[in-house]
């Protein structure tokens, strides 16, 4: 599938999803919202981490920064602008830390991106306590839930479109080259440092914008909820279970995870996570390419008949 077909398919899918608020009840719409959000996060994560084989745990940091941009700008900025600003702040932050730490690989990179996220969280907590005298913030004027849904859908569609374009563009080739052998890619004329920073910042833009768009859902936000490492871990899990090298895989697994989480977690909070953990181990051991490898196997079999 070339980019034009993929983008057309995306547009059709997006229009269909945009009609959901008229079809679904409030509860089901909230469910769709969380699926769409995780799909956007997982696609934006695998945009950078899939081809390069980097393991970034900074998603929670970008997401949290985005929500705080909305919280700080509440009242002053219109909703659409604060989503854009949230994305830009996260992208700027990613470019800054990317320039400092993207030469590290593997576990070092995972640990330091996780550390950066925690540092931002504790930094904001301290700042709010010491200078603003609060722990959390209340967002008084929230747009309607359908507006939030459309905004999150728009950002997630943007993430998928960007992932498609990056994949079929020079940048995507450069990232795949870096992922398989960075020195060779550099020898062949890839500016590895610039490509990595650009892609890292682009992927952070969508995570930040999603955070800024979701912030109004909570009405009360504090650093512990919005910088929740669980958001970052969940994103990585969804992307890797889906197959981080693909775009369709993370979307499919975001839907599966979103449905499982919302239905089971409320009823059996502990047992649900026990089962989730068990399933995760089984998946990694026996389906290491992720859900996407099922598609591929199926396509391969069909091609052979």
């Amino acid at each position: 599938m070339n980019s034009r077909h993929a983008l057309l398919a995306l547009l059709a899918g997006g229009l269909a999803l945009a009609a959901l608020p008229w079809l679904l009840s409030d509860f089901l719409l909230a469910l769709a919202l969380s699926c769409v959000m995780y799909a956007g996060l997982a696609v934006s994560w695998s945009m950078f981490c899939g081809p390069t084989n980097y393991l970034s745990l900074a998603t929670a940091a970008f997401f949290g920064l985005g929500t705080y941009v909305t919280a700080w700008g509440a009242g002053a900025l219109p909703y659409g602008l604060s989503v854009l600003a949230g994305g830009l702040v996260a992208a700027g932050f990613a470019a800054l830390i990317g320039a400092a730490v993207l030469h590290l690989r593997g576990a070092y990179f995972a640990v330091i991106t996780f550390g950066m996220g925690e540092l931002v969280r504790h930094g904001i907590t301290y700042y709010e306590k010491a200078f603003e005298g609060t722990v959390g913030r209340i967002i008084a004027e929230a747009p309607e839930s359908t507006t939030v849904y459309w905004m999150v859908l728009l950002v997630s569609m943007g993430a998928v479109a960007a992932a498609v374009l990056v994949r079929d563009h020079r940048l995507g080739l450069a990232l795949r080259g870096i992922g398989s052998d960075e020195e060779r890619a550099q020898t062949l004329g890839v500016n590895a440092r610039r490509s990595k920073i650009a892609a890292f910042a682009l992927s952070a833009f969508f995570a930040g914008a999603l955070g800024a768009a979701m912030a109004v859902r909570w009405t009360y936000i504090d650093p512990l909820t919005v910088f929740n490492p669980f958001i970052g871990f969940q994103t990585v899990l969804i992307a890797m279970v889906g197959g981080a090298q693909t775009i369709l895989g993370p979307i499919a697994s975001a839907v599966v995870f979103g449905l499982l989480t919302e239905f089971l977690r409320l009823q059996f909070p502990y047992l649900f996570l026990v089962i989730l953990g068990f399933l995760l181990i089984l998946l990694v051991l026996y389906l290491p390419g992720g859900i996407a490898s099922l598609f591929e196997r199926w396509r391969w079999r069909r091609g052979n008949v």
């Binding site: 393991l55 640990v111 540092l119 504790h122 996570l273 026990v274 990694v284 051991l285």
Partner: protein, 289 residues
């Protein structure tokens, strides 16, 4: 003067525990590239085992340490065989092992932590053990913290000695330097990997058992120690046991002094600040040549 002594001593006590937790994790990573994010959960299991033994059977926690170590060692061998063996033996590249073992680690984390919630609930549990105070050089400590420090040091040093002076220790070091070379001279991966993984969990279990004598325990107690251990092993250099020991002490001291002179809510900011500063200045860790 006694303030300084007290701060240094309490930093070292905290650091001693960090070191034990981190050395186990670091051995697993250095040898097999398994970044076991569920390490802290096995620390929690060690703590609960000790608490059960103390409250149900009235066993002295210190006498129970070898049992905890043995149980966790066996658990480690089993976990390795069931979860990680397949990854290590089928993955095409080192980076793939890291990524997949991280995912399996998350799975184990959810599994073990929530089984503990199902079994024991979310309440804090605890018991009092050796609570009388001890006075050394004008500074006062709870006796249990001093005992914990002693045992943590003994466990760390014993492990360092095993690595340094015994044949199996030599095999482990050889394996870390060059996995292929070590296999060529006849070191058996199939024996060494599970044994080292088990040893790592045994250390985590011992750390948990020791912690249960001082602090209250809960199913979520392990996670912060996993994060701290990750910081410590990056500080000391991945794969270096001595580096982890020194890194643990360093982090303990930084936290204690930092919290005393700034504010307790900055504890994590300080640890991450140190981590980031070290990684930017010396990306391979403080104590590597």
């Amino acid at each position: 003067m006694s303030l300084w002594f007290e701060l240094i001593a309490s930093g070292l006590i905290t650091g001693g525990i960090y070191a034990v937790v981190a050395i186990g994790l670091n051995l697993q990573y250095g040898l097999m590239r398994i970044l076991n994010i569920s390490h802290g959960e096995f620390l929690m299991l060690g703590a609960y085992l000790t608490w059960l033994a103390h409250t149900v059977l009235q066993v002295n926690p210190l006498a129970f340490l070898p049992v905890v170590a043995l149980v966790m060692f066996v658990a480690g061998v089993l976990v390795y065989r069931l979860c990680f063996y397949r990854i290590v033996s089928t993955a095409p590249a080192v980076e793939v092992i890291e990524a997949r073992s991280l995912l399996v680690g998350f799975g184990l984390l959810y599994l073990v932590q929530n089984l503990a919630y199902l079994a024991w609930g979310a309440d804090l549990r605890g018991y009092s053990f050796l609570v009388e105070t001890l006075e050394i050089g004008g500074a006062r400590f709870n006796l249990n913290r001093v005992v914990v420090f002693g045992f943590a040091m003994a466990a760390s040093l014993a492990l360092l000695a095993v690595l340094r002076f015994t044949l199996i220790g030599k095999a482990v070091r050889a394996m870390m330097q060059s996995p292929t070379g070590a296999q060529l001279v006849g070191i058996d991966t199939k024996v060494l990997h599970p044994v080292v993984f088990g040893a790592g969990l045994a250390l985590a279990g011992v750390a948990g058992a020791l912690l249960s004598t001082v602090f209250e325990i809960s199913p979520a107690m392990g996670e912060p120690y996993t994060v701290t251990a990750l910081i410590v092993i990056v500080l000391g250099g991945l794969g270096s046991a001595l580096g982890s020991l020194l890194g643990g002490f360093l982090l303990g001291l930084v936290e204690t002094f930092g919290m005393h002179f700034t504010s307790p809510s900055l504890k994590m900011v300080l640890s991450y600040g140190v981590l980031i500063a070290v990684l930017l200045a010396r990306p391979k860790g403080l104590f590597t040549r």
